[in-house]
Every structure is written in C-alpha cells, then in structure tokens.
C-alpha cells in the first residue's frame, strides 16, 4: 500500500476540497442492496470507482424498541430486545437482564451465571460463523465461492441453534433469561450433544481457515483494506473484535467480568493490522477460544438452583428502586451496554441500548474514502454490523 493520500484524510467531511479529474458520481449503496447486511444506505461520492466521500444513513430498520420498552414491564422487556441483535439474540437478551438485575439488586445463582456464560460463548460461535459466511458472500457473491463458505458456516451454525432449541425450545428468540436466573435448566444429555457439536465445529474451523485466510484471493481482497487506526477506533467507541483487530487489548469478559467470567479466564485475541484481514483472523481465533470456553463452562457447571428464590413472573413482584444503572457485556460484536433509568412503576423511565454495531458503522466515513466500490462491501462486511441493533 502506498502512503495514504492527503485527500483521503481530509475530505470525508469537506467534499469541496477534492478536485476530481472528471465528474464525481453519487452512488446510493442501499438501502436495497444485496450487501448492506439489511437496510443500511451509504451515499458514496465516487471518482471513477474510487470513493471520495462516504456517508452512511442508518435508520431504515428503526422500530422504536427503546421507546417501546418504556411501556413494558421489566419482565416483558427481555423477549422484545432479543430481536435487536437478531444474529446473537442470546447476548442481546442477557444484556438487558444484566441491567435489570443490577438495577433491582437481584442476586443471580452461580449455576445460572455459568450457564449464561456458556450460552454467551455458544452464541458468539454461532454469530461469528454467520459473519464468516456473509463476509465471503460479500467477497465472492452468492453465486460463487462465497456461497459455498456461507453454506458451510450455516451448516455449523445450525448445530448451535439445535442446541439452543434443545435447551429453550426455540431456535431464535429464546426468552430463556428471567430476572434472577435462567428459565430453562440443562436437559439430560444436552452437555453430551454440545460436546459433539463443538468437536465438529472445532474440526471444521481449520477448513474455513483454508478457504479464507489461507486463500490467496481472499487475502488479496482483505489485506490492507479498511485499516482502522486504534486511536480512531477508541475515539469512535468501536469495541469488540473490530477494536481488538486494531491492536487494542480490550475485552469486557476480562476487563469488566460479568456472568462467570471472573471464574474462568478468557484469552483475549488481538491483531495488529486493523484491516479486514485482521478482523477476520481475530474472529476466527475467537471462535476457537469460544469453543474452549463453552466447554469449560458446561463442564464446570455448578450444582444448585437456577433461579434466585421464586421465579419472578409478575411485574408486581418487583420492588422497584428508583435510580439509574449501566450494565454491559461483551457480545459477539463488542460492548453491548444498557442504560436503564428506573421509573416510578413497573417499567423503566428510560432505556438506552448501546449497540456495538452502531459504533462500528460510524467508522465507515473514515474507512471508505480512498477505496473502491468493491472494497465497500468488504469493509462493511468485516465490521459485522447488524442493522437491527444499529437502528433498534
């Protein structure tokens, strides 16, 4: 890569400073576009195929979830918010439950915390698998090599979804967490199934590495593309694998342990380059680490009650404190935080979700200029945004 041209740094906000050879072309990438991971619109100003300025416009999937939650009781919120991050609903749900428990000062039994950790790790594996598939889909197209990797990763993701179904009875929107514990206990034989599934996934991860990181074409498309400098990442609040790929050693599982992560140590995976390839490497390595962690959490699942006291079902059972609380966990995409201000009744006065994807998206105006249209989808894909989470 040649040195970054001066104009790439400057005009992402000041288009008038750029003097093109010919005319600039404005291309609306999205909201209906195969590679915008939902309904993101990016307004691209192109000089030929090179991007001069890029402005992302989120909001096409806005469903007013936060406002809706203000009308719901604390018990009702969880199944709503797990539709935010529809690729990793489990952590999406856990994030809100964490905040509510923290607000209500509910003690969670150890067994529930270990189970939650295991579920979070399984969810991370599933989410990263889907990400890897869509990433190659962005590079290789649905009618090409990308399609193949996508089908393979979906096949393995299915194993995780089967596990979740075995546990909660639902493949997607689980509603398995209640305030103060978990609703569904591990059924008989589930641990064995999980080990079998994880063995298979662990065996196949090297195959994906062959198809992606060790594939010359894939590497050529990803290396040096969309370099996210650590300073910029920190400034924008980018977290999760995107941040770790830029060389910042930050992981809430280790730095601010939630669930049972203070009892089982997490190896934080980082990479230096900060480009699309580094993000790929970090995620694939994280998958291996997550497999290890999930095994550890299930193997060491302590005996005891799953829910503190009597399961809380009715909103009236809450003794609502006034006050405000922020709780965060490390979802597959980064720091998924919830800011909760208690209301007078049984529903929150204000609920604000801090989605990691939104902050990842905000890096686009800085990453895209200087790259081509082809790189746009690679960069966007590598940031792993989930529009449901971005727009809420």
């Amino acid at each position: 890569m040649e040195a970054t041209p001066a104009w790439r740094k400057l005009p992402y906000r000041r288009l008038e400073l750029y003097e093109p050879e010919g005319d600039l072309m404005t291309l609306q990438l999205g909201p209906q576009h195969p590679s915008t991971h939902g309904v993101l619109r990016i307004k691209l100003h192109l000089d030929g195929e090179r991007i001069v300025k890029a402005v992302p416009f989120p909001g096409y999937l806005h469903r007013a979830v936060e406002k809706l939650c203000e009308q719901l009781t604390y018990v009702q919120i969880a199944p709503i918010v797990d539709k935010n991050d529809y690729v990793a609903p489990m952590t999406s749900e856990q994030a809100i439950i964490l905040a509510i428990e923290k607000l209500l000062k509910v003690e969670v039994p150890r067994r529930a915390r270990w189970l939650r950790s295991a579920l979070a790790e399984l969810q991370r594996v599933a989410s990263h698998l889907l990400w890897l598939g869509t990433m190659t889909l962005d590079l290789g197209g649905a009618l090409g090599g990308g399609g193949s990797v996508f089908v393979y990763t979906m096949r393995e993701r299915e194993l995780v979804l089967d596990l979740f179904e075995g546990l909660t009875g639902s493949r997607f929107h689980y509603n398995t967490h209640t305030v103060g514990g978990n609703r569904h206990d591990v059924p008989a034989g589930w641990a064995k199934d999980m080990h079998a599934a994880l063995d298979l996934i662990e065996k196949r991860i090297p195959e994906y590495e062959t198809l992606t990181q060790n594939n010359r074409l894939f590497v050529e498309r990803m290396r040096g593309i969309g370099v996210l400098e650590p300073e910029l990442a920190l400034e924008l609040g980018v977290t999760g694998p995107n941040l770790r790929a830029s060389g910042v050693d930050h992981d809430l599982r280790r730095d601010a342990p939630f669930h049972a992560y203070d009892e089982v140590a997490t190896n934080v995976i980082t990479a230096k380059a900060g480009d699309c390839l580094a993000r790929t490497q970090v995620r694939v390595a994280e998958m291996k680490e997550s497999v290890r962690l999930a095994r550890a959490f299930i193997d060491g699942l302590p005996e005891g009650p799953l829910v503190s006291g009597k399961p809380i079902k009715l909103p009236g059972q809450f003794k609502v404190n006034s006050g405000q609380v922020y709780a965060a966990l490390e979802s597959a995409r980064g720091e998924l935080g919830t800011f909760l201000v208690a209301g007078a009744g049984t529903s929150p006065y204000r609920l604000k979700i801090r989605p990691p994807s939104y902050h990842a998206i905000s890096a686009l105006p800085y990453l895209l200029p200087g790259h081509t249209v082809s790189d746009t989808v690679a960069i966007l894909g590598s940031l792993d945004p989930i529009m449901g989470e971005v727009d809420r």
Binding site: P5, A6, W7, E16, L17, Y18, E19, G22
Partner: protein
C-alpha cells in the same frame, strides 16, 4: 446479368455498411454513433471475407470492433459532462458539409465510371494468409517494422499525453 448469392450478400452487406456510416456521422448521441460505426466495420469485415481476405476480416473484428470501438466508448463516456444532453452535439454548416461530401463523391464516382472499362477485371483466387505473412516479412519488411515502431511510439505518446500529471498526489487540496 444473373443474380448470384454473392451479389445478394454484397448488396445487403454493402447497404448495411452504408447505412451504418450515415448513422455514424449523423447520430445525435455519440454512443449510438460508435455502435453504428461498429456495424459499418463489421459489415466491411464480411466484405473482406467475400473479397478473399478472411484474415483481414478477423483482424478487422479484433482490432477495430474489439479495440478501437472499445476505446471510442471510453472516449465518449469519459468526456461526458453531466447528463445525456451533453452527448448530443449540434452540427454547424451541415449543408456546406453535405455539399462538399457530395461533390467529392461525384468526382470519385465519375472517375470510376469513366474508367469502368479498365476496371473490368476478373477475380483472382486469394494467395492465402500464408502468402500474406511471408510478404509482410520479405517484401514489406521495412514498412512492417516502421509500423511496429509507429505503434510503439503511439503507445508511449498516448500514455504520456493522457497520463494524470501527478498520479500519486491528485491535486493538493487548497485551503479555503
């Protein structure tokens, strides 16, 4: 005078070539003009086959239709300003141009017509592509080499002329 298949093909192809050339010079949209030029050139290629020069026909398609037309398309699109209207050009002095062209045609056609007896020749079988190649490297060797030198010069010249002045630092932003 009997109508043979060759004659019918010639009439059709020739007419198409002529029509193509008319549209090439008259189309208001330059993109259409380029495509019509393609028609003319392609039809000429067919005529080449009929005139016993299939190799030339192949080269014509390869170079002209494949290469030159592609370049022209680039030329048209890169020199486009905003919108379609810019691709249209209004031609001044259309009548004068037509008059001159007609006069030239009259002179040419008249000359051909006057010399029609001298032009009564029978077709000779083509000497073949092999012979063409041999003659290029023996009898026309100097011209052949000169042509290759010219192509090289043209290539370098085109690159030098059309190059961005400073490819690494496209136009330093001026502070405003």
């Amino acid at each position: 005078m009997t109508f043979t298949a060759t004659m019918i093909v010639f009439a059709l192809v020739g007419a198409l070539a002529f029509v193509g050339s008319i549209f090439t010079v008259r189309s208001s949209k330059l993109v259409h003009a380029v495509l019509w030029l393609g028609v003319t050139l392609g039809m000429t290629a067919i005529l080449f086959v009929q005139l016993g020069a299939p190799f030339l026909a192949g080269i014509q398609l390869l170079l002209y239709v494949g290469g030159v037309m592609t370049l022209m398309i680039f030329g048209v699109l890169l020199t486009k300003r905003d919108g379609d209207s810019e691709l249209k050009t209004e031609e001044p002095s259309r009548e004068r141009g037509a008059l001159i062209a007609l006069a030239v045609f009259a002179v040419l056609a008249g000359t051909i017509w006057l010399g029609r007896d001298a032009l009564q020749r029978t077709a000779v079988p083509s000497l073949g592509t092999g012979w063409l190649g041999t003659s290029l490297l023996t009898r026309h060797l100097v011209a052949f080499e000169a042509l290759s030198a010219l192509l090289l010069a043209a290539m370098i010249g085109a690159i030098v002329i059309a190059r961005r002045r400073d490819p690494d630092q496209p136009s330093e932003p001026k502070e405003s």
